[in-house]
């Protein structure tokens, strides 16, 4: 009987409580920021030490800007920074079940300094049939000679078009907003670690299959993302960004065509590799 299986679950077997959206946000922050402070406190304590002598191998010269994209230091006013690489996103099991895909996307970053502290950032991630373009502003400041901080806000517009005989005649686009905070630490003169936290909020979503379309104008919290990136020299004068982004969100633009209906935060790990140009 159907009820026999139902009986297997007895009242009181609750493993997880019901989550309101705010509680979920708090929970995710608590889970993941518990680990981060251990690192960051150590970094801050280390950063607050007396600066090393200028001739020391690990001494930092504030006047020297190391090439970086993620490190929270503004480019000089009028200066451009750019990088080109790839982002690999792994599909969550809840969506693709037994199939596990790591989907690569071309990743291009372009930034320009406005003032000593302010700069604009833009990023294009594309798989040609679907793309995401973001524009944002950052305010960055050094906290010590090694520790840097930036706060910013990025607006992401994404769209995808899939036309495949007997499979897809679908398209979708949407807008998301991602306020963010980045802490950067200069581990050595040339090695920089950045840790970034983002809140992901939905602004707009529209999808269409054939001639039928639906849209969602509800603005709401979608999830959070945490990124850790190392930036360092890579063969000669070339520098690279190598990082991992962990997004816990209800929706990920790269998987719009799966038409996920779960109202659950799923884990989307991303590997980031960029050459700083």
């Amino acid at each position: 009987m159907a009820g026999q299986a139902i009986l297997q679950h007895k009242p009181g077997e609750w493993c997880l409580p019901h989550y309101s959206i705010h509680y979920r946000l708090l929970n995710v922050y608590l889970r993941h920021l518990i680990g981060l402070p251990f690192c960051l406190l150590t970094l801050v304590a280390s950063a607050q030490r007396r600066p090393l002598p200028a001739d020391h191998s690990r001494a930092i010269d504030l006047a020297v800007h190391q090439p970086a994209i993620y490190f929270p230091e503004a480019p000089r006013p009028g200066e451009w920074r750019k990088s080109l690489g790839a982002v690999f996103t792994t599909t969550p099991p809840a969506l693709t079940e037994e199939i596990r895909l790591s989907v690569p996307a071309v990743d291009f970053n372009l930034q320009r300094g406005l003032t000593k502290r302010f700069f604009v950032v833009s990023r294009l991630q594309t798989q040609f049939i679907q793309s995401n373009l973001s524009l944002g502003v950052r305010w960055a400041t050094p906290l010590t000679d090694r520790l840097f901080l930036s706060v910013g806000d990025d607006v992401h517009g994404w769209m995808g078009v899939l036309k495949l005989k007997d499979v897809f005649n679908s398209q979708a686009y949407g807008v998301q907003n991602m306020p963010n905070l980045t802490l950067g630490y200069r581990l050595t003169r040339e090695l920089q670690l950045s840790v970034k936290g983002e809140a992901i909020t939905d602004l707009y979503y529209r999808s269409q299959v054939g001639t039928l379309a639906i849209e969602n104008r509800n603005r709401g919290f979608n999830g959070v993302a945490f990124t850790a990136v190392l930036e360092q020299p890579f063969y000669g004068n070339r520098h690279v960004s190598l990082g991992l982004r962990a997004a816990y969100s209800n929706f990920n633009w790269q998987f719009w065509s799966l038409f996920d209906t779960f109202d659950r935060d799923l884990f989307y790990p991303q590997l980031i590799f960029n050459f700083i140009l």
Binding site: M1, A2, G3, Q4, A5, I6, L7, Q8, H9, K10, P11, G12, E13, W14, C15, L16, P17, H18, R31, H32, I34, G35, L36, F38, C39, T42, L43, P93, A94, E97, E98, L162, K165, D166, F168, N169, S170, L187, L191, L193, S207, Q208, V209, G210, T211, L212, I214, N216, F226, A228, L230, L244, A246, F259, T261, F262, D263, R264, D265, F267
Partner: protein, 419 residues
């Protein structure tokens, strides 16, 4: 070295926490046979579209209320299902006592893990006066389902009141439940492609089911979706690899589905459909590559059984790929073997398939659908779960049915549709 340590801790911190979701059913069903005071005429009177006069913030403005049943030998157990238009929500109620018109059960929202207990009693209202329902409605009376609901396992205390609006939409429409009723990933109380899920399907709104057919190593047709044994579908047992590498005996002895059930044979599944449910459609999805004859034999056997019992039951073999089409073409005798073609209209016509089932992601395909229907074919879409699109497809009124993991939502939009 220190840097590497920092980075490792950081990465572990970022990736180490994968939340496990669970949604256990908070009501223990007694599954008593019969319907007590809910006689056939009372059950018929109760079915309908109701306004949610209290509780709409949780369950939406209106719901569809429908009775279903499960047969066990000489006994029939009746259940009341309520389909909401919010977050793929539904209620399942059972009769509490034979001598009262009281119902107890639970509610669930399939898109998340929200659930809770609920109870209802049947009342009537006239000019603001509320009275217990005695089995008959006088002129001016309006039926009311009055009760309470709770979150999780708490005693129901939040008021819930449903007020009758109109009868259910009676248009013919197939509400087909994917994987015999729903996905394991939707945290249903029974596993996908299990016998228990087949029995649960109609309580989730389904009028038919789709089941995934594969062969064991020794050629027994069974129900299983994935290519391999994996922890998404089965309990941990150390076995892995293609299910076709194992004999039926091995699977029966060593493997349990995620909620503890055995992997059923196709024969057991069809027997369950006929003996325990009132489902009217079974879609045998071809997940295997190779001869189709054993599936055909079972299809014919149970079609004959259904006909002998006077059951209006269609059992069709789904052809999702060219390999499946080739297997079908290789059958020595194709008579008495209804098929459903998921490929394009030309192949569907060339196979003389009576049912065409394109993907929903191709859109409404108005011209093609109308042409196929004009040729006497039935047209379904699969596998459509997005509630807003379900609403759009149903309101367009072109298709004869929808295959979905969310049959409560298809049921809601179908039954509440106003012609």
């Amino acid at each position: 070295m220190k840097t590497l340590c920092y980075l490792s801790i950081l990465l572990l911190s970022l990736t180490g926490c994968q939340k496990e979701y669970e949604a256990p059913v908070p009501h223990t069903f007694a599954n008593r046979p019969g319907a007590g005071q809910f006689t056939p005429s009372v059950r018929k009177a109760i079915e309908g579209v109701y306004a949610v006069t209290t509780g709409s913030s949780q369950f939406g403005e209106q719901v569809a209320v429908k009775w279903t049943y499960v047969v066990n030998g000489p006994d029939t157990t009746h259940y009341l299902s309520v389909f909401t238009g919010t977050d793929v929500g539904y209620f399942n109620f059972e009769v509490v006592k034979a001598d009262t018109m009281a119902l107890a059960g639970y509610w669930r929202k399939l898109v998340n893990t929200e659930t809770g207990r609920a109870r209802l009693s049947i009342k009537t209202t006239r000019s603001g006066q509320v009275r217990p329902y005695r089995g008959q409605l006088a002129e001016g009376d309006t039926l009311m389902l009055d009760g309470a609901f709770s979150e999780k396992t708490a005693e129901p205390s939040q008021p819930l009141r449903l007020t009758y609006r109109r009868p259910l939409n009676t248009e013919s429409f197939a509400i087909l439940a994917h994987r015999s009723g729903g996905r394991t990933s939707d945290l249903l109380p029974t596993s996908e492609n299990s016998l228990d899920m087949i029995k649960l399907a109609s309580r989730l709104g389904a009028t038919g089911i789709e089941i995934d057919v594969r062969y064991t190593k020794d050629g027994v047709p069974i129900l299983y979706h994935d290519n391999t044994l994996n922890l998404r579908l089965i309990r941990k047992n150390g076995l892995k690899g293609p299910i076709e590498d194992y004999t039926y005996q091995q699977l029966t002895t060593l493997v349990r589905l995620i909620n503890g059930e055995q992997i059923p044979t196709l024969e057991d599944a069809l027997e369950t459909v006929i003996s325990n449910t009132n489902l009217t459609f079974v879609w045998l999805d071809t997940k295997y590559i190779g001869p189709m004859d054993k599936v055909q034999v079972l299809q014919q056997k149970f079609r004959q059984r259904a006909a002998q019992l006077g059951r209006k039951l269609q059992i069709v073999i789904g052809l999702p790929t060219q390999d499946a089409v080739d297997s079908y073409k290789a059958l020595a005798d194709k008579s008495n073997t209804p098929i459903l073609c998921e490929l394009d209209t030309a192949i569907t016509r060339s196979l003389s398939a009576k049912i065409w089932a394109p993907r929903w992601t191709l859109g409404p395909q108005t011209n093609e659908v109308q042409a196929m229907k004009a040729e006497g074919r039935t047209v379904f879409v699969w596998t459509l779960d997005e509630p807003k699109f379900i609403d759009e497809f149903i309101n367009q009124g072109q298709f004869n049915g929808i295959l979905s993991n969310y049959s409560p939502t298809v049921a809601y939009y179908h039954y509440t549709k106003q012609l």
